[in-house]
Symmetry: D2
Subunit: 494 residues, 4 copies
């Protein structure tokens, strides 16, 4: 069904992969919703299209959902005053497909026999179609297109007595990536899927209040302490008695998304005992060792390329320079480019620092190449600015496979690395040379000796095509894409 009141999609095809969501929850603080708003603000990089907060005040649930940024929607005193209560959860969202409508904004809420239940979810399920069909046949009415609603219906129809048991019962029927926070009238629950693909961390305020958040940077903004990551497959139950931990799915292999280190997570977060910033610098240093080239300056593609550029420059002993300047005031939309104004798209956000770049040999460092459209424009912009040489270094292996775990990726046929060799890619983007970090170089940078091919330490499916779960909803699609068109994995040293 089409809805008319959709939001205009972002006109900037920035050629980046996008995280879909961030979640935050707090139990037992008199200003619960204000803390959630701040936490979501710190997680805004995980989703900018919509946000929502629920709270419970001992009597009833309150909610507010809106399109746009947390800071623009949860600033009004009247709004915050309504979100009463000492338990609250929230969500920021980046929509994967088409327009976003308010009914697709999380948290989702349902009134069950035993009371209200709100849930917010970061990730993506991979066996929804059959489950959804069964539920509809049973008389369940779906209001949204979101995976999350399947979990809600499974909880609703579960035969178990307690919410905790119903939720575990529901999660046993689904596959995929899910880090979620949920709340009832007396409990907050956090769950990380058995592979722990998406992050979820436990924090604590000075006064002992417990917090759940996608990343530790959300603890910093409210002065909370990072306690620990929620484990893969762990269910954390927080209520007046404190924190209880269950592992209802048995012992499960950790397959945390390595791309969270490379690009998605905020550099000031720490996940699974690693500083995101330090990992990025380490990748830059590995890259300098693996693919060094003689040059006058290392130039980061703003802003995500900065930490790896610093690592690269330090390791290579080459000056780190701001050869590209970012315009911070892009606004939501802009004029469509005309024929007379070339390469406008990228210049709305970036400009070459012409006086510094002219006549120089440059190493551009970026985090990834998706379709390659932006990379080509940036290389082009540097050449027009008079750069003598432009070498591109990428702080991830070639992104050759789509993600089905909550990242908005194009299909394999649209991924530059899904269709071309590295040499071809260099030619397409117009660089004098192009190098990606190797798979093992990436593993080294995160502190592993090498990739364990039998049981990889991370989910690296976007580089290797080895997905940690079944992909029931996508089997045909993936099979088709696995045609041996390219010897890419071999080329990457695997």
């Amino acid at each position: 069904m089409t809805d008319i009141d959709h939001m205009t999609t972002n006109p900037f095809d920035d050629d980046k992969l996008h995280e879909e969501c961030g979640v935050f929850g707090i139990f037992g603080h008199k200003e619960a919703a204000a803390h959630v708003a701040l936490g979501l603000h710190a997680l805004q990089h995980r989703g900018q299209e919509a946000c929502g907060i629920f709270s419970y005040d001992g009597q009833q649930f309150h909610s507010h959902k809106a399109m746009g940024l947390v800071g623009d929607n949860f600033s009004d005193g009247a709004v915050m005053d309504q979100l009463k209560g000492d338990c609250s959860i929230g969500h920021v969202r980046y929509a994967t497909t088409g327009g976003t409508v308010l009914r697709n904004v999380q948290p989702l809420f349902a009134e069950f026999e035993f009371g209200g239940f709100a849930i917010a979810h970061n990730g993506n399920l991979t066996n929804t179609q059959a489950v959804r069909r069964t539920l509809v046949r049973r008389g369940c009415i779906f209001q949204s297109d979101m995976d999350t609603e399947i979990i809600v219906h499974l909880v609703a129809v579960s035969l178990y007595a307690t919410v905790e048991d119903r939720l575990i019962d529901a999660l046993r029927q689904i596959e995929g990536a899910y880090s979620l926070v949920a709340m009832t009238k007396d409990t907050m629950i956090g769950v990380r899927d058995p592979n722990g693909v998406r992050p979820l961390a436990l924090g604590k305020l000075d006064d002992g209040t417990y917090i759940l958040a996608s990343e530790s940077c959300a603890f910093d903004i409210i002065g909370a302490e990072f306690v620990r990551d929620v484990d893969p497959g762990e269910v954390v139950i927080i209520n007046k008695e404190g924190v209880k931990s269950i592992k209802p799915f048995g012992q499960t292999p950790s397959r945390f998304c390595v791309f969270e280190y490379i690009y998605f997570a905020r550099p000031d977060s720490q996940i699974e005992n690693r500083s995101v910033y330090e990992v990025r610098k380490a990748i830059g240093a590995e890259l300098a060792r693996e693919s060094g080239v003689d040059a006058d300056m290392v130039v980061p593609v703003p802003d995500s390329g900065v930490p790896s550029s610093i690592g690269y420059a330090a390791e290579a002993g080459i000056a780190f320079e701001l050869g590209i300047i970012r315009n911070h005031y892009v606004g939501r939309t802009f004029i469509e480019p005309t024929q007379d104004i070339r390469h406008l798209g990228v210049r709305l956000k970036h400009n070459a620092n012409i006086p510094s770049v002219k006549g120089k040999r440059i190493i551009l460092v970026d985090d990834s190449i998706v379709r390659g459209t932006t990379s080509k424009k940036i290389v082009d912009m540097m050449r027009q600015a008079g750069a003598a040489e432009v070498h591109m270094r990428i702080s991830s292996p070639p992104t050759a496979w789509p993600c089905f775990y909550g990242i908005d990726t194009p299909k394999r046929e649209k991924l530059l690395a899904g269709q071309h060799t590295i040499e071809e890619m260099a030619e397409i983007i117009g660089a004098d040379s192009l190098a990606f970090i190797s798979i093992d170089g990436m593993y080294r940078a995160v502190g592993e000796a090498k990739r364990n091919d039998d049981n990889p330490q991370f989910c690296d499916a976007c580089f290797t095509g080895e997905y940690p779960t079944r992909l029931v909803d996508h089997d045909d699609e993936v099979a088709e894409e696995r045609q041996p068109t390219l010897p890419l994995l071999a080329e990457q040293g695997k």
Copy 2:
């Protein structure tokens, strides 16, 4: 649960009863949604707070819902272009309780196993609590507070095979007033509850396209012909084969709401073979005969009092005069009155025609007295304008009982006639005399010899307290109100 994004309620306590809804549907016209928009515009008097339209184009359903008037929300070409397809239904809504939110706007939609189903409902159910509780226990998740959603869930969980059978199965489990239109991908269905409390009529365009609408005035705007009223308890099924009629509830007694004639319906509508305008004039004439008084002019309280004033003036041989002038540009809101400016509320909409009224004996004709607050202000305004005498005549019997069938009424304790004798009421509003049409006078005006007390020809519960259905949801409330505090029914000649 509270939602924050509610609409501000109308600041004018106009002390009128309000119809809750109007419905419209059309099957088999290439501009289906445009016709629905026009039909809803003609039914706008039945609800001004929100409106919604669904359509089906052979491939998918389309929808648009909005707060406010049809003309303000369905005027945009882009909106109408999206509402593709040759079957379409729509709804206008006046909210009974608290604020209105978009999720409470009809039509409701659900994706069933066999496809989409949209439904719009005029009326109110009286046994929702138990049914809803059963559904929730079974795992059904409710998204709104609307009665209509109960019908949708009952259809979803029904074990019958066809939509028609599932809908009939659902309706057998509910009680109350409901005139509804529904649509699937190949059928439009209209249903009027067994008592036919709310109106629903069948119309036809020149080209044979069938239409369902709450009132016949919605046929006029699109140049359609009034075919007939849908019968109480009738299910009308419209598809490519034409119109099929079923009466699955057996033979049922008609109890059409008599207040539709007195106030709710538009004067240019015809319902159950009566012209609403002519009924109102006839009541005015009956009133002149029953409660005549010597005076200089008959003055209608704008605008609803006009037809009965015309009838009264003609019967009494007294001049009909616009002694009260209405301001047509009230806007949505207005400044709160200050202490220095008295009786402002009523004067924002009405002003005495001072030069004409000064020194005159006046008969004010209005359709009803609810709380009495407006009546008092209007009598007061006439006196300040210099009227010598002010006699109030009301074209309905005293409104002493709440309605549970889709009209927004205050509780009995707030109804002036629920707590006071007519003499007391005259004193409260400050009139020199006050008279209401008698119950039998009202029945005569609609063409009946007298009220059949064993099996009344109409639902007149708001005057008599005799409700045509069980009131399961409200039993306690009604019982309590039935305390014999007042000899009102006796006084009314019953």
Copy 3:
């Protein structure tokens, strides 16, 4: 110069003439601006496109201007709280040409050497072009297209010392119609042009506060008393000493716009010792005497035709009936009609009362015919509803000449009566018969024996082409239109 942020013009070509403005001012009340807002609300029929209020609090001027209705823009407590002070003036505006932009909304304000000066104007000047040219040549910079700004600049460059003298100096240089209110930091001034074409009245609150308003209905809403009309050519100066009256233009002939009685003014207003409502009834009665016809019912074209219909019906002894029902919820805009839906324009606002009209001989009473488009649609609608005969009676003489004094009229070539005989007009609109009130009948209805052709008692230029002032700005246009194409004046009995 074009501005982009213009308001959409009203899509309803309702084929009526429109008053351009209403003004209101109050001096010496602690809630001055709140009273102005209410007064403007009562004058809303004189202009619905924009409104503005200025106030002065002893220290500084405050203002708020907005597109739309008074009730929608001056309801917010925060807005009203800002409009501090005990002197305040305001304006409602109907734009004559193209779009309206906020910079064209009145009152206008200028900071002079001696302090601030705000002014609001109802009417239209007729010698602006030369005056404006001179001012621009002198270095004056115009910010708007409004006549009013010419007055402001003339005040600014006047060599007189006091504001009063400067204003009189300015007004001596202009011609046309102007009823205006102005305020400085210690004075409120009201002026009516030498012919008194537009109305302006003086009122008083119980506490002695003086008020100026376009019509007396604006006094009623705030409980003020009507004191008297401001005389043609009178300047009323209100300050702490009380009211002072000057007649700086000498003795001038009154030429009040007779169309204010027929259509523009509110029926509950009294102007120059006549009740507008009673004049309209008297015109109806004259019309019945002049152009009686045998029929079953007199039907007003809502809402402006109601008072003359009442007068006609009473004089003719024929039943007054609501044969046309008005939809009160038109909203601001609506769907463009499609080919399949005929005569939609008029039906969005009006519907025939088919059951009452069918088979009847009908006398339709309306106030005027401008282009004739709506009249034709309404006659047509009555015929489709089954009327046996449709006779049209108009409570004004034929409108054959444009107005240059503040009414939005089409050019003579677009006025039906500017191009056609009455017989042709009857045929064009499809009526069985058509009659207009005669010029002398109209003069009788307002209490004059007959029109004084040497020095007419009213401005009736739209009927006669005899304008009370020079038309310097329009000389070519009018001369051209005066071609003797039609023996219309002769036909009208002159």
Copy 4:
């Protein structure tokens, strides 16, 4: 006078100085306005509160003004389509005082005898009061509070014949800083005040079209070439014949604002033959030489401290690290901090990179200290993150005097350096050490041997209190502030 429709001011007291304006103009390109929109977007750092564009299409002028960002207001095709013509100028604005209202948004426009005239101005005048008073006395009516309107009125009343001569005549009567672009129906004019305090540059497209812009980065976005800076006191006249240059003010001493290099200008701009980015790095290097300190890392305060940090780190041989992470999604507003959440203000935008900072000795590099509030919060945040030592280095001399040339500065009494010694300041902000670049160090970094105290090469009044023009409007204020409360200048090595 107060206006109600003001914009909410930015709730982030970011404790930075703010440039007030940027200007852009283009003559002779068929997509003139689209180029202006892009140019203004590149100049958005010079003003984010409002923007406006005018164009002339050979027949008439067109305009659009709006609150907010260029990208949010000039993206709509309908808006851009209206801005027809091949000459266009535009303006971005940061409001210095109170709220901004649309009537204060530039460009300003006036219709003169010889046609339309539009003007946009970057800077601030210093002798407005007397000039304005004279103009008002003459009958000129001011519509805004902007300096620019004084120029417009002086042009209007000038006795010279041509616009160019009138504009020069006008400018001779004013003092202060003004870089402006203006347009008539056949000419575009650029002027830089005799001291050239604010920048203005001339650029050219491939096809020969001339452009004027505040900074060269606005040429880059549209692929234009930087031709040269407009000289101090130069009037550039661009029309169909090409570019003509006049120097009507004689030979004048250049006093370009040195703070443009330090903070205001974009790093990728080049002004007066210097790269802004390279100057900033050079200041960082000077600072390292002047005030070196042993530490583990150099941390920029984002984003303005980055180039000088790079310069500092390279010169000092200390690692450059992102010890503070910026949140890019701040939105327009945010929740007011509560008592429980400390130092929230700064954390909405910044977070310490705790894992990298903990236990380290840190050199923070920022561009200036205004009130000191933010510096204190940032030092505090680093300490809470576990930094062992926090040394603050500032890439400008102490800001001790207000600017009267178009920068929004607090009064001297609110400037931290206006009231305290450097030692006191270090204590107030809580740093282990604090150092500012010296005056001569700053001059060295821009390529001068030392400051020429008799005739300084730059305007450095905010550091020295030596203003390049008379300050007629502010004489009292400045005199009062010159009280010898502090030996600051001495301390700075002067």
